[in-house]
Amino acid sequence: MTEVVRLNAVSKVYGKGHGAVAALREVSVGIPAGTFTAIMGPSGSGKSTFLHCAAGLDLPTSGSVRLGGTELAGMNETQLTELRRKRVGFVFQAFNLVGSLTVTENITLPLTLAGVRPDPAWLAEIVRRVGLDGRAGHRPAQLSGGQQQRVAIARALVTRPEVVFGDEPTGALDTMTARDVLVLLREVVSGLGQTVVMVTHDPVAASYADTVLFLADGRIVDSMSAPAADKVAERMTRLGAWT
């Protein structure tokens, strides 16, 4: 199986001298194409930093990150942006959308910024898949939180990226809405063959993934395939006990 994302001995240190904090320590991992991976760990375990480095939002202090075969080291901010634009989709916890743009405009925003015309058939397909039919002309303020996250997912998919990253995409939603969004993400992986990497602290959310990677103290300490929520929760409790 090909790997979409490959991290080799990636370390990230914030600050300098005595105040330096290592958020990631020599992390090496590959994310296979067409899989749904959840990253879990207690607060301060480095899971956000992992996501930032893997997605090209931030450059590691040392080590190598390859995204779809491209080495990120040595790229400048504009090159990174162009890479993200083409190959990566993002779903954040909140503040995902531009308030002045309609649903369709928000979805096609990465294409607009790249100066590429959207493919109407593909656009219609993802709008249908995320369940936003009939809402194309709405403004974000007219949508519920769950609907806004669906717009964000559609936007992440519109460029046919190699990987979609989610940073607590259900963190700001209630249980029922969160479930819908997770089902959608699962469906994106299974139905479209999309690769999804999601940081979460919620064992139920993690249970929708194919694989769960557990981070603690800047290292990957464990992984779990075909996770069940109660198993993940138990593992997390033990992680918490260690730290």
Binding site: L57, D58, F90, F95, V98, G99, L113, P140, R155
Partner: protein
Amino acid sequence: MISFAWRTIGHRRAGFAGAFVALLCAAALVTACGMLLETGLRGAVAPERYAGAPVVLAGDQYARHTKANGKTKAKLLAERRWIPERIAAEVRRAPGVTKVVTEVTFPFAGFTAHGWESAALTPFTLASGRPPRAAGEVVVDARHRTAKIPGYRVVGVTAQALPSQDTIFFSTDEARRLAGRDGLVTAIGVFPRVDVKVDGALAYTGDARGTVEFLDAENARVKLISLGGALGGTSLLVAILVVAGTFALSIQQRRRELAMLRAVAATPRQIRKLIGGEALTISVVAGTIGAGGGILLGLWLRERFVALGAVPENLALVVSPFPALAALLATLAAAWTAARVSARRVARIRPVEALSEAALAAAGLPRARTVAGVLVLAGAVALTILLANLSVEAASSPVSMLTALVWTVAVVLLGPAIARAVTALPLRVPGAGGYLAHRNLRAGTGRLAAVIGPLTLMTAMTSTILFSPATLGHAAQQELNAGITADHVLDPGASAEAVRQAPGVRAATEVLRTTARIELEKYGVQAVTPDGLDRTMDLGVTAGSLDGFGGTSAAVSRTAADRLGVGVGDRLALTLGDGTPATVTIAAVYARGLGFADLTLPHELVADHVDDPRATVLVSGGERAALERALPGVTVRDRAEAAEAGTSNAAVTYVAMGLIIGFCAIAVVNTLAMSTSARSRELALLRMVGTTRRQILGMLRTETAVAAALAVTLGTGISLLTLAAFGAGMTGSATPYPQPLGYLGVVAATVALALAATAVPARFALRARPAEALAARE
């Protein structure tokens, strides 16, 4: 990007309203100043009295001076240059000339007086009666058919009257006698229109004839150029400062959205383009509306200046599209500059910020800003030193505005550092509101820094504008108080002979005020009759003596002597007000140049070279009642009243600069309103956790009060420094004079404005139910 920018603006109207208003005001101010400037450059007055003469020969109204490098500079003369009458005979012989008309002009009892010889220039014709022939006969214009002229008999009335002057005609000989300039005339009319070239006079045709007819219009034009330029320049600088401030604030407030855009797909360049697009879009709209309003503002300004007597009624405003276009371009440039400056900050927004939970405050003061701040600070110090060495008001006034501005820019650039330093002070305000305010100020130094910018600008500019004439006036006032030793002062028009005859009068000094140029540099002149001078004025002589003053002797103030590098016994070549050269010998140097004048010349030397030879008379001894009886119709003042009236008229500056103060006030309201309304979520949260409305308003009040106190301190410091430097240059004393009541007014107005601009949007924000306000996304 532009369409995206347009959408963003439409969506975030409130955030852009501040920048919009600032740009609109800037465009209006620049348009109005541009109109004044253009009128100064191209304005013309149509001839009235010379309307009937195709060619008018008159003196060159400019003093010209060729420098060593071959460049010739010309400066407008203060008094009319008369021309020799023999030119008329010369012109009469020129080919094609059929008629030549000579004219003398002089003021007489409120009228502009001439000899009947020049009636054909307009032409004036008689409606009734006959021309004046004998010395005691006059003809008046149609508006004054019933007027009585004391000492003269009205023998005729003309059919015409000129719109902006009251005309009276004497017989030709009597007019020559009254004008008192042997062999000289004011103008020569030539018929028909032919090319005439003569030595000693220039030929004026068309509207140029108006400039020799109305010398005051020519003076006003020159004044409008400098005023329009200084005012326009200052308002443009203030505009860039204000607009940059509002832009920076609005960008700070949408940091999160911009970070999200960066994360999703936008390069730093695209973000800069977006910000630039937004700036250009609003500046086009604001600039267009503002420029339109500016035309009205320009018309209003001219009306004020006419009412204040600074601009003659008949100098019409030049209305053309140029000032409006220039203002639009200037507004675009200002907005673009402001956006570029703000966009530097945007480029530093890291995309990761969109993912983090907390809205991150900007990290420490960026190095570029600190470096810029220190450089501007150095510039401000240099300007202050320069200002302290300027002793000409025409240069000193604009430089003092610029100095205050540059100091303010330094404060704005270093604002975050200042805010951090001040909030680190262990000061406490009682109450829950005070506690919260203290914490907020310490955490949000960026916000505090953004707010103190316009508040400092307002205090510094207002104090500098209001108190630089006061500083000058106060110093002149003190010199006059000490220097006028006469008991009474008579307004111009009194006959000195009659005064000397009045009972009890020990001495009477005639004082004539005019100007002279030394190598084109303008100096104020008082021409005095030397008899009994020591009894009427004390100039504070520091070297030499005024004994035996007269003939071609002169006295100069210490400031002027220093500038010219001359001392007692030196000879000084000068150009009198009407362009006549004269050489004088310096007899004395005196201290009180500011209250009196830089040059003191003998009355006899100057009297024939001014348009209006009526002198103020200083009288020592005698009773006020006796003087009033002896001189009917003449205003008699005592020493104190006279000194009071002697202070310069700063009203014109106040009107013009008042607009800049208003602009600063708008900036204050803008910034505070933006800063407060952006906090509605935070305020809602505070209410959710149990803070009362009272406590929240108290908290905001305290925060604003701290910001205002800090800004007033900084602004006062800036204006004191500027005024001290201004005073040192102009008066030789570095003591600024902020009128106590005026200063209190400035402080009170600034603080009240700041509090109101906080309270009103805060009340709006508090009107929404807290849960709703919290639910609403940014």
